[in-house]
């Protein structure tokens, strides 16, 4: 089975004035389809840069990145937008819902840019909201929802386009313990029941514990990479 994500010798170098910052220094990474991976690391370790590159929001300075077998490096902005639209779902720490726009319309957003007919957009978004337990809240605005509910709308938005990869950047960072548990339960369920590959960035070990694999990044390279749960034979074929 082909890896969903394969990175080889990724480099990312920023130039801030005269100072050169090497955010990634030859990082190698392979993630199989269906995995639930937690990426940990202190701030400045390069994990945000890695997430941006994995999410096709940014391009590496050097190195190769294959997503679903496609070499992403060197694609144009519009092609990257298509990949994000069709293959990747994002969940952010600060929810990033569009203000004064209903839960349903927020969840419709990726379909809107895909050019799906309006009726189908509504049906799919309603279904996505149902899956995160928000049926009956379609017309609510972000300000009328609790933090946990807003994050669930964000997950519905990430899910609606049936992506193969879901990137969650500190999804529980702004939530209380109870909401955090609910959100993680939803992510866990999506991974187990639908086989969606999830990459989670966190610095909380109890959150990371939901994942089956824990990767620690330090100084732009992988420091440790270990499976914390027995790997499902279906989704993992190498030693």
């Amino acid at each position: 089975m082909a890896a969903l994500i394969r990175c080889e010798d990724l480099w990312k170098i920023y130039r801030l004035g005269d100072v050169e910052v090497q955010a990634l220094r030859g990082l190698d990474l392979t993630i199989e389809s269906g995995e639930f991976v937690a990426i940990m690391g202190s701030s400045g370790s390069g994990k945000s840069t890695l997430m941006n590159i994995l999410g096709c929001l940014d391009q590496p300075t050097n190195g190769r990145y294959w997503l679903n077998g496609v070499d992403v490096a060197g694609l144009r902005a519009d092609q990257l937008a298509d990949i994000r639209n069709q293959q990747i779902g994002f969940v952010f720490q600060s929810f990033n819902l569009i203000p004064r726009t209903s839960a349903l319309e927020n969840a419709q957003l990726p379909l809107f840019y895909r050019g799906v007919p309006l009726r189908d957009q509504r049906a799919l978004a309603t279904e996505a909201l149902r899956r995160v337990g928000l049926q009956g809240r379609e017309g609510h605005y972000p300000t009328q929802l609790s933090g946990g509910q807003q994050q669930r709308v964000a997950i519905a938005r990430a899910l609606v386009a049936s992506p193969s990869l879901l990137l969650a950047d500190e999804p529980t960072g702004n939530l209380d313990t109870e909401s955090s548990r609910e959100i993680m339960a939803i992510l866990d369920q999506l991974n187990k029941e639908q086989g969606i590959t999830i990459i989670l960035v966190t610095h909380e070990t109890d959150i990371a514990a939901y994942a089956g694999r824990e990767i620690v990044i330090k100084d732009g390279r992988v420091l440790t990479d270990r499976h914390t749960k027995p790997v499902l034979p279906l989704s993992h074929s190498e030693a």
């Binding site: 519009d78 937008a81 990033n96 809107f112 840019y113």
Partner: protein, 411 residues
């Protein structure tokens, strides 16, 4: 794509209605600009139409020949100072120039006219019968005098509307009445239909016509028999005016024995020349209106651009989210352009309403004629779309060029 555009328009309307005061103030520039343009253009068009009507009231394809100035020992008198044109000139023109449909002549003086115990000082014109047809005078009652009247120097008169109103009581029939012009009794045989103001602004209805011969012999006490105040001619077709005018010049120069180095002792004006003068006035007006329109739409457009730039900054995160879920640059450009155009079009429509009302109010209060043409309204509408597109382009591009990572991180 149509679904995208429709939804973007709806989104734009919602976003704008979130901040109604701001959207309203932004649109105000366009509203005032378009409103002013519509009102001014309709006033301009109304004035133009009024002028065109006045020029038309001169008659159809008319050429006027006026006596020129008389030079006495190098001192040039004013126009019309000389008595150089004669009835014989007029008859010669008719004979020599086939292009002319008709020629006529007139001579005028202001005199006191009396009817019973009423009197009026009016312009008395001694004219040839053809003059009346050249100038398109028609009758509200009675009819014109004939060549027989001229030959017999009959004491018959035609009165204009203003004269009739001032000499006769309401309900009194002027036709058949006897009036006195400079104490000479005249029988009124016709009342002229009103023509209104002339292109110079004088009242064309304050007039009395009597046969040329009668005027010469019995009223004016002319020094030189046969001299006229002006010659009039008309052509069958509008295109013939210019060639006919130049032939008239040649004929009169020969008759007046002018040497090639001598100036004309007469002046020729055609209806087209007179129309042109009026047109150039209204063209100046149009240029000024265009300048006003440009300035106000420019100001309105800058207002839209300004508010959109603010909006782009405020919504940086939203733009980042949209990009993250798959919006391409053109989607973002479209979104902001549609917002700009929505603002300018709503503003433009309100402006059209304001302009139409403004024109109506002008007509009612100031009494100026106004014309609101569909073209003006359409042009204003199209212009407001163009303003939105033009001034929306920069903010929209600015939004689309945002880096999604920076936009998502923007606080």
């Amino acid at each position: 794509m149509p679904a995208f555009v429709l939804l973007t328009v709806l989104t734009a309307i919602r976003i704008l209605s979130r901040n109604r005061l701001r959207a309203g103030l932004t649109m105000l520039g366009i509203v005032i600009g378009v409103g002013a343009v519509i009102a001014m253009v309709s006033i301009g068009e109304g004035a133009k139409a009024a002028v065109a009507q006045r020029v038309a009231s001169m008659g159809t394809n008319v050429i006027i020949v006026l006596p020129g100035s008389m030079t006495t020992s190098g001192v040039r008198g004013g126009q019309g100072g000389a008595v150089t044109l004669t009835v014989a000139d007029g008859m010669e023109l008719k004979k020599r120039i086939p292009l002319l449909r008709d020629t006529g002549w007139a001579k005028r003086d202001v005199m006191q006219i009396v009817n019973g115990n009423k009197n009026w000082n009016g312009t008395v014109n001694g004219v040839s019968p053809s003059y009346l047809t050249i100038r398109d005078w028609s009758f509200s009652s009675g009819g014109p005098f004939t060549q027989q009247d001229v030959d017999a120097a009959a004491r018959v008169a035609l009165v204009g509307q203003t004269v009739a109103e001032n000499l006769f009581d309401a309900g009194e029939e002027p036709v058949g009445a006897v009036i006195r012009i400079k104490n000479v009794p005249f029988r009124v045989i016709g009342v002229l239909s009103p023509k209104g103001q002339s292109s110079q602004g004088s009242d064309q209805d304050d007039i009395i016509f009597i046969p040329f011969s009668t005027a010469e012999r019995k009223v004016f006490g002319t020094q030189f028999l046969g001299s006229v105040g002006a010659l009039f001619a008309s052509t069958e077709r509008l295109e013939d005016l210019a060639p006919a005018a130049s032939q008239i010049r040649d004929v009169i120069r020969v008759r007046h024995r002018l040497q090639p180095n001598q100036e004309d002792d007469f002046t020729i004006r055609t209806q087209v020349d007179i129309g042109k003068v009026q047109e150039s006035t209204s063209e100046t007006l149009t240029v000024m209106l265009f300048a006003i329109a440009s300035v106000s739409l420019l100001v309105g457009g800058i207002g839209i651009m300004n508010i959109l730039l603010v909006s782009v900054t405020e919504r940086t995160r939203e733009i980042g989210v949209r990009m993250a879920v798959g919006a391409k640059r053109r989607h973002i450009v479209m979104q902001f352009l549609i917002e700009a155009v929505t603002l300018s079009v709503v503003g433009g429509c309100l402006g059209i309403v304001v302009g139409v009302l403004g024109a109506r109010v002008t007509t009612v209060i100031a009494g100026w004629p106004t014309i609101i043409s569909a073209e003006t309204v359409m042009a204003a509408f199209v212009f407001s779309i163009a303003v939105g597109l033009f001034f929306g382009l920069y903010p929209a591009n600015k939004a689309a060029r945002l880096n999604p990572i920076d936009a998502l991180r923007y606080e």
